[in-house]
Every structure is written in structure tokens, then in C-alpha cells.
Symmetry: C2
Subunit: 284 residues, 2 copies
């Protein structure tokens, strides 16, 4: 039984709209598995990121329920105010997919830029040149890094990044619908679309079905995450797998069994390209 300062409670802070997502479910599974193994308990707290009293809410939580530590997923893990409050009260923080440097935290991430680069390079290798990109939320570190990776791969292959083919998304299904409607009305069609998470890619699939466009015959489509949605949609999505349950597990493990050496405070996980039916060589 692991306790520190008498606590066996691990906090998991999130923003409310995230709770229903496949990403959240997978991370939480990993957190719960780590808690079960160590005899700890998970306290899940959803914030409204627009509210102004988040520091007070955290203070109130910690006074009443001392926490062994707190796990912060993106985008909360890059909110300076949140990090300051937790640092001030002396609660250790493990961050999942941070973009900023914090110095005092335990960080677990994948190399999002490299992963997006690899996926884009795979599409280029299939002969695609007009490759569209659906971006994630502007304040989300993963989203920014993926867009950088896409542009880098295009640049190295000597392919233009066409502004009209890079559209804004918000990591949710509905914004994928909007992005799909935008991209699939462009003439000529992009020959491939890389939506930088699976929920948005599934939105693009829905638009394609509605318009009578076939994937991958009319255009190839790739997502990112390998969330459960990537396998329940038809055709199944080519995507980049980040092991979200493992990342949750390791984040909790950082708090339960903190590494002594400063250089061990950051762990980078591998990513895998998962090739399924939604991508194919470009048609002549």
C-alpha cells in the first residue's frame, strides 16, 4: 500500500468535454490499472476551463483530500496557472503530452512531430501529392506538433503546403464534419486527408458517405491516436497509435514510485503506424 503524507489518492484533472472521448477512456483505464496495482484510488475532477476560480477549487480539494499527486493531460498540463497552484501546495504533477517545459513535473509524451512526419511520409510514399490536413485546437501542444511534422514532411518531399487544404478542427467529431465538408468541396479533391486525431477523421468519413465518395478509392484518409473509434468505423482507419492506456499507467506510476534521477523525470513513448483500409496508393 503506497502512501505519501498519509495519502493514497491520485488526482486526475480534465476539462469536461474531454470526458466522453475515447482518448480519455483509454488514459483513465491505464490510471485505474496503476491505482489498483498500488492500492491507490483515483479522484477524477472535471473543470470548466473558462471559470476563474480554478485555483480556489484546487485548494479546496487538496485541503479536504490530500493527494499523493495529480495527473494532468493536455491541454491542462500546459496551463501555467494550474501548474503554479499545484507547485505552491507541493503536490507532485505527472503530465501527459505536455508541450511546455515545466522543470518540476514528471512528463510522459510521444514525439508528435516525428509521428505526424512519419504518417505524412507514408502517404507521400503511396504517391499522394495533394495531401490535406485537419488541424487540432490552437492551444493544444500535440496538435501544434503534428502540424509541424506534416509541414516538414511535405517540405522535404518538395510538395507545397496549400493553405486551402489545411483546415481548423477541434479534436471532436463535429469539427471533423465541418472540416470534411470544407475539404470535400474543393476541386480537384485532395487525394489524401490527414486528420490529426481519429474523432475528426471519423467526421470526415461521415461526410464522404453522405456525398457518395468512397474511401480509399476517391481519397485516402488517415487519423491519429488509434482510439477505439478507428476500428469501429468503416473503412477502418489508418492511424498513428499512441498507447494511451500505457501513458496513463506510466503517469500514475511516476507519482506512485517517483524516479530519483532528474533525467528520468521524462519518458518518451514509441508510436506505431497502423495501416488499415482507409489508405491506398494514389490513382493515376
Amino acid at each position: 500500500m503506497i502512501e505519501r503524507d498519509g495519502s493514497h489518492l491520485i488526482g486526475f484533472f480534465c476539462d469536461m468535454p474531454m470526458v466522453g472521448s475515447g482518448y480519455f477512456g483509454m488514459v483513465q483505464m491505464g490510471l485505474l490499472a496503476a491505482c489498483r496495482k498500488a492500492g491507490c484510488e483515483l479522484v477524477v475532477k472535471a473543470f470548466d476551463l473558462q471559470s476563474t476560480d480554478i485555483p480556489e477549487q484546487i485548494q479546496s480539494l487538496i485541503v479536504r483530500s490530500p493527494l499523493l499527486g495529480v495527473v494532468l493531460p493536455a491541454p491542462l498540463c500546459d496551463m501555467a496557472e494550474l501548474l503554479q497552484v499545484l507547485h505552491a501546495v507541493g503536490v507532485p504533477v505527472a503530465r501527459i503530452a505536455p508541450y511546455s517545459e515545466a522543470g518540476t513535473t514528471f512528463d510522459i509524451c510521444i514525439d508528435n512531430e516525428k509521428a505526424a512526419y512519419d504518417l505524412t511520409a507514408y502517404l507521400i510514399g503511396l504517391g499522394h501529392k495533394r495531401i490535406a490536413f485537419v488541424k487540432g485546437p490552437p492551444d493544444h501542444g500535440d496538435a501544434k506538433a503534428r502540424f509541424v511534422g506534416y509541414r516538414k514532411a511535405m517540405g522535404i518531399a518538395g510538395l507545397p503546403v496549400i493553405e486551402e487544404l489545411c483546415v481548423q478542427g477541434m479534436f471532436d467529431f463535429n469539427s471533423g464534419i465541418v472540416a470534411g465538408e470544407e475539404l470535400l468541396s474543393v476541386k480537384p479533391l485532395p487525394s489524401a486527408i490527414f486528420a490529426c486525431n481519429d474523432e475528426m477523421a471519423v467526421g470526415v468519413v461521415a461526410v464522404a458517405h453522405r456525398l457518395g465518395l468512397r474511401i480509399p478509392e476517391d481519397f485516402s484518409l488517415a487519423g491519429f491516436d488509434d482510439s477505439p473509434l478507428a476500428r469501429t468505423v468503416w473503412p477502418e482507419l489508418t492511424t498513428c497509435r499512441q498507447k494511451m492506456d500505457l501513458m496513463g499507467y506510466l503517469a500514475a506510476d511516476f507519482l506512485i514510485d517517483p524516479p530519483a534521477a532528474p533525467e528520468d523525470r521524462k519518458r518518451s513513448q514509441d508510436h506505431d503506424l497502423v495501416i488499415r483500409q482507409s489508405t491506398a496508393p494514389v490513382r493515376e
Copy 2:
């Protein structure tokens, strides 16, 4: 700020495989909203239902973290041993979708039998006669009640319940795939399939796509729950909506602000038929 016996912690117990599901995400959203409103915190605990030391795990949790109460979703809410342990330690219990009578608990449910009856009657009203049914887990109260409702509607319409067309599922996508493969190899095809939750219905959709069968042209398909999956799949699913977030909210509210009168310890929520593109009149 709500506390009882000094506690502001509400427990939410579940079995691990449930954590990734849309149903779980929706219920948890409602729980978190109720907690936020009342200044409470949510402790999520995942059990391996096969393990033999669940009573000890609960004892250990409650000794270290006194709980205001515990929310139990199905199928945990019908496990007599669990209910006994919680009753013995004096922790109030709110159950979501219970099948059994417990007497001492707060219960929130929908009328699953009536809901499945209504959905089946709707399919019959479209002219369907060969209506297949994908069952849920044998130990799950909701699943049992939905099968009863289906059989009742078929019986009242004078339609036979054909054993070959009633197949076992387990409420997850993979069991929906297996059920779909089974039902879509029957000759002649069932003219409609009622899968008694959305995750299984989406599995049937995947099999149909793979076999080149069109929904609803070749057969109609209905699910149950109106989970987020019902809208992200193509075609979008006709389904029966239970407001899972509201049920989570009300379950937490039972613990935060318990009703005085015994007759108010049970709340039944309405259900709605949600008609989308996956169902159509039978083809002659």
C-alpha cells in the same frame, strides 16, 4: 459544500472493461457535473469482477477514505455480495439501471422492457416481420428486460420469435461483429436487426459494409442507448435514447441530497425513440 460524516467523496464503482465505453463516459459526465455543483469529488474505482477479495478492497477504500455514498452501475448494482458489504459499513448506495430489488438503495432506471417493446413495435410498424435480436450479457438486467420487451412486441403482433434470429452478444463492438456475421449469413436475411445496445449495432454495421450489404436498403438496423457512437457511424443509427448523463447526475444527487420519503427512493426516467437513417420500411 455538502459533507456527511465529514466526507465529500462520492465513489463510482465499475468493472474495468466498461471504462472505455461511450455509456461509461456519458454516465461519468453526469456524475462529475453533479459533484462540481455540490462541491463534492468523484472517486472512480475499477474492479476485476473475477477477483475474490472485492469485499476487502471496499473495506480498505472506505477505512482510508470515508465516502458520502457509492454509485453502482449495472451489472455491479445487482451483485448481492457488493450490496451487502456496502450496507454493512453503512455507506448509502445509488444504483443505475438495477434489475433486482434491494430495498435499502436509491435506484434510477428506465423501463427497459417498455423501451425495447416500443422500438420493436416501430420496426413492426414499418412492415418488418423477420426481425432479428442481438442479446446482451446474460447477467445484465437491462439486457434481460430488453429481450423480454422484444418478445412481447413480436407476440402481440402475432409474429414468431425465431430462435436462429436471436443471437448472443456481450454489449461490446466485437460481440456485435460476431453476431452480425451470424445473422447476415442466414438465408433469407432478416429484414431488420435490433441490437440491444449501440456498440453491438455498430459491429453489425461493420460486417454489413464488409459484405457489401446496404443499410437500410438490404436490412434495417436499430441499436439502443443513443451513445455517441450512434451518431458517428454511417448510416446514423435509429436507437432508443436513455439520458445516461442525466442518470449519472441524478444518481449522485440521490447521495448529495437524499429524499426523505421512501417512495421517492426510486426514479424512472423516460426514454425516446430516435429515428435516423438506419431503418426504413420493409421492401416488398
